[in-house]
């Protein structure tokens, strides 16, 4: 079981991720609607894993990854974004993300990636 922070600006997507992870024994310890809030929640909650969207208002997901990595270089962050352009995936991984899930995703893919990290 992992303690997970879900960062996504879409309420619908947060609900979907909570549903998938929750029913498979993981605990959603927090949610954030943009990168800035995600960084704050990370500092406060210290989750085992963060799922991070990229396209969000204010601070985007890649910037948020950089900020979280500067707070905790051991942070485990998985990008969950529709933005699967090679350049963007590379940028996210270079910023410190451990994996990249392209939306729309299958439930099994989300679980596989989260469980590999725990």
């Amino acid at each position: 079981m992992a303690k997970i922070l879900v960062v996504d600006d879409a309420a619908f997507m947060r609900m979907m991720l909570k549903n998938i992870l929750g029913k498979n024994g993981h605990q959603i310890v927090g949610e954030a609607q943009n990168g800035a809030e995600g960084v704050e929640k990370y500092r406060e909650l210290r989750p085992d894993v963060v799922t991070m969207d990229i396209i969000m208002p204010e601070v985007n997901g890649i910037e948020a990854v950089k900020k979280i990595m500067s707070i905790d270089p051991e942070a485990k962050i998985v990008m969950v974004s529709a933005l699967g352009q090679e350049a963007m995936v590379k940028e996210a991984l270079e910023a410190g993300a451990r994996d990249f899930i392209v939306k729309p995703f299958k439930e099994s893919k989300v679980l596989e990636v989260i469980e590999k990290l725990c």
Binding site: D9, A10, A11, F12, M13, I55, M56, P57, S81, A82, L83, G84, Q85, E86, A87, M88, K103, P104
Partner: protein, 207 residues
């Protein structure tokens, strides 16, 4: 920014192909989200003065438009447009929840925005990878209005009211319920120039 764009037949053909690649990827993602088949018609590419372009779109009925601005090597906007009944049916197909009424609820808006975000991202990904560019979609916004009014508003937001506008338009049909919608890509003229230059290089006609 009043300017006219003149492209030759080969360039128009290459651009239609680019639009087709983008729209195919966008609709593939819609098919995956809904677990159904989504087909597309051959994309149309129109380049004409903004006001002419807008007045040709749609009738009096209300449509839901999710629009996503693009930044990076391509500036412009992608719009997913569905009539309200289709939008509600699409939400039902994805969430399994029947519509609450004729007006969109907050959750229905969230679902449609996310659909627009995913489709616009896949459209951009395909263009970016094909052209070797970086294209960054911004967070989606949703508006409900008549099609022409909606496009007018979007063009105004983009501060693009004069000169020629470029419209890639692809109609998609969502099989089980026969819902249809349109996806538009409207790059600004400078971005179109960049796309054309990249395409000319690809076919060995570099400047």
């Amino acid at each position: 920014m009043a300017r006219q764009l003149i492209l030759n037949e080969l360039e128009m053909d290459m651009l239609r192909e680019v639009g087709s690649i983008g729209a195919s990827h966008a609709t593939n993602s819609l098919a995956e989200m809904t677990g159904t088949k989504v087909s597309i018609e051959v994309p149309a590419l129109e380049i004409r003065p903004v006001e002419q372009l807008i007045s040709r779109e749609g009738g009096e009925e209300l449509v839901a438009g999710v629009y996503v601005e693009l930044e990076g090597d391509v500036n412009g906007v992608i719009v997913l447009m569905l009539d309200i009944a289709s939008a509600l049916q699409l939400v039902e197909q994805i969430t399994g929840m029947p519509p609450a009424g004729e007006e969109l609820t907050e959750m229905e808006v969230s679902v449609l925005q996310e659909v627009g975000n995913i489709m616009a991202s896949h459209f951009s990904n395909a263009l970016a990878d094909f052209l070797g560019m970086k294209i960054m979609p911004m967070p989606p916004a949703l508006a409900v209005d008549m099609a022409a009014a909606l496009l007018d508003f979007i063009m105004l937001e983009q501060a693009c009211k004069t000169g020629d506008a470029i419209l890639f338009k692809t109609r998609f049909i969502f099989q089980p319920r026969q819902i249809s919608g349109n996806i538009f890509l409207m790059p600004d003229p400078e971005s179109l120039d960049r796309i054309v230059t990249m395409l000319r290089e690809k076919v060995g006609l570099g400047a």
